[in-house]
């Protein structure tokens, strides 16, 4: 499936990556704190349970999963912030947690809920510090900053105190800060968290355009399916630390949802349709029925035949992505194989 010529070698290569957090049971009180320092008590939390995937150069991949699925933990391992409990990974050919200079210069991690900028000074000043930290040559720095300023409309924001920016404005500036050193790989953890709809769209368009212009490889987590639908042709779904799906977004419903959705519009009011499938909604002359994927054609034919003249319209679709994802995530245990 992967042509392993050097050019096409995966940028991100993850094998059986696993992370168990050892949480110290913190006690209150000075004496107890001291005791726990001497003899610590641990509780184990399995956050990522052996996931494997590859990402090719220039791909934009959506990383989906409900809260606590292990997305952030995975991104932190891939950016070298956490050591895995077991398993292997390379990013740009480096083992992330060795934190080699070439690796760190080649990647970035943006977190929607955390800021790397100093809030008491204008972003432009923080940028100059970043320029020195990454030793970006002056000409390249100017070029990159100009480009980011144009793409993100940063002009009026750069010289205001970061503290005074709105959440959306701040996020734009955070993006610029994270990309000043022109990384080849960007890990974006909930970059649109808490933003209003129009700002979400703005950030999305930026990510798409940045990917196109720079060819950077992007792995993005988001709560908002819209982000993923707009940006990613490929998604990776994890739940309880287990990889459930890795493939085209377009095929996600087919693979993950065992049912199809038949919508019927009747000329009169809706009677009892429960013999055709699970009626999930019905009001006046509209009804939605879920039927097992394999029997969708046969049930549709039966509906057409039995409703006859009463039927004004009928359509058969995959359920919307949000719904599929919600269903998958609602299950307590990971679904092993949902394709019937």
């Amino acid at each position: 499936m992967y042509a392993l010529t050097p050019m096409d070698a995966p940028v991100v290569d993850v094998r059986a990556l696993r992370k168990v957090y050892r949480v110290t049971e913190r006690e209150t009180g000075l004496a107890a704190t001291f005791r726990s320092f001497v003899r610590r008590r641990y509780r184990e939390v399995l956050a990522v349970d052996g996931i494997t995937f590859h990402i090719d150069p220039g791909e934009v991949v959506g990383f989906l999963g409900p809260n606590g699925a292990g997305k952030t933990t995975t991104l932190k391992m891939l950016s070298g912030l956490l050591h895995p409990t077991s398993g292997e990974a390379t990013v740009l050919g480096h083992v992330p947690w060795r934190r080699e200079g070439d690796f760190l210069r080649g990647m970035t991690l943006l977190m929607g809920n955390r800021s790397q900028l100093v809030w008491d000074i204008p972003a432009a000043d923080s940028f100059l510090v970043l320029k020195e930290i990454y030793a970006v040559p002056a000409a390249q720095y100017k070029r990159t900053l100009d480009e980011l300023t144009e793409l993100l409309d940063l002009g009026p924001l750069l010289h205001k105190l970061v503290r005074g920016l709105s959440l959306g404005e701040r996020m734009k500036v955070e993006f610029a800060a994270g990309l000043l050193h022109s990384p080849g790989v960007a890990f974006l953890d909930e970059p649109t968290l808490g933003l209003d709809i129009s700002m979400q769209g703005r950030i999305r368009r930026f990510v798409a355009e940045y990917n196109q212009r720079s060819g950077a490889t992007i792995l993005l987590t988001s709560h908002y399916m819209d982000d993923v639908v707009a940006l990613c042709r490929r998604v990776i779904v994890i739940h309880h630390g287990v990889l459930l799906y890795d493939g085209a977004l377009a095929d996600l419903a087919e693979r993950m949802a065992p049912y199809k959705r038949i919508s019927v519009t009747l000329r009169g009011s809706v009677g009892d349709l429960s013999t055709f499938g699970e009626v999930v909604s019905s009001n006046e002359n509209l009804a939605t029925i879920h039927v097992p994927r394999a029997q969708a054609a046969e049930r549709t034919a039966r509906l057409v035949r039995e409703l006859g003249d009463q039927l004004a319209d009928i359509s058969v679709e995959d359920p919307p992505i949000e719904e599929v994802i919600d269903k998958v995530f609602a299950s307590e245990r990971p679904l092993a194989e949902t394709t019937a």
Partner: protein
């Protein structure tokens, strides 16, 4: 090395601009510093109202010592304290991650990233006090003596730095270390007088647990010609050891932060 100097210059430049936004504060701090130094000199003068020496220290030598104290305190408060304050906050809210993503020595970054530029004024005032004291001492000060002074001053600052780093590193295990720091600063206060004026228990703790006693007394001795190259070399060795231990503790803390041990 050049790279790190350039980085430090960038840190200083941004912080300087920040302080310039709050110029009122700036002047206020300088005024406050005048008051503090003035009253400590007053206290020394009162102490010497009745005697001409204290444990072998004359009044001018005491003033030199006071100046050294402010030099060291100024140096530490100029760079390390503000940086460490931010570091503890980073550990608490999780933004230390961003430092760990940077392709530079993280200990350097967290130790020097933030400056409180006003404290440069303490350095200047400290220097003035040292010079005034030296003029009173009246001794000829040679190149060698000045060199030993500068060296021991640097070692003194680094000694205090290593202790601060060690304390701050504890924040990886205990969320609140501010109380420990407060105790540290209280001890530091005592460093403005030579260690030998204190009762034994305090003298021992000022020299060992909190090396501020040594850090301040050594340079004052060096410039007064009471400490030779061997003494300064010993101080240097001790400083290297202290910084080494503190760095090791720091790396250990960082490992526990990133869960390397798991």
């Amino acid at each position: 090395m050049v790279r790190y100097l350039r980085m430090f210059r960038a840190f200083a430049a941004t912080e300087f601009q920040f302080e310039m936004e709050y110029r009122g504060n700036f002047y206020l701090s300088i005024f406050e510093m005048f008051l503090v130094i003035g009253t400590s000199i007053g206290a020394v003068l009162i102490m010497f109202g009745h005697t001409t020496t204290m444990n072998g220290w004359t009044l001018p030598e005491m003033i030199v010592l006071l100046g050294v104290y402010y030099l060291i305190q100024g140096g530490v408060n100029l760079v390390f304290s503000p940086s460490f304050e931010r570091l503890m906050e980073h550990v608490r809210v999780g933004t230390l991650d961003f430092h760990l993503l940077k392709p530079v020595n993280v200990q350097f970054l967290v130790s020097t990233r933030h400056l409180r530029v006003v404290r440069a004024a303490d350095l200047l005032l400290g220097l003035v006090v040292v010079i005034v004291g030296l003029l009173q001492v009246g001794a000829q000060i040679g190149v060698a003596q000045s060199l030993l002074f500068a060296l021991s001053l640097f070692f003194g600052v680094m000694l205090v730095y290593s202790l601060l780093l060690g304390l701050v590193t504890l924040s990886f295990w205990f969320v609140r270390v501010e109380n420990l720091l407060a105790i540290f600063w209280a001890f530091t206060e005592a460093g403005r007088f030579p260690v030998d004026v204190y009762p034994l228990w305090l003298r021992v703790s000022l020299s060992t647990i909190v090396p501020i006693g040594i850090a301040v007394t050594a340079p004052a001795n060096a410039i007064a010609g009471r400490m030779d190259a061997v003494g300064v070399a010993l101080l240097g060795a001790g400083t290297v050891l202290a910084v080494g231990i503190a760095s090791a503790l720091w790396r250990r803390g960082l490992r526990s932060y990133t869960g390397a041990s798991a």
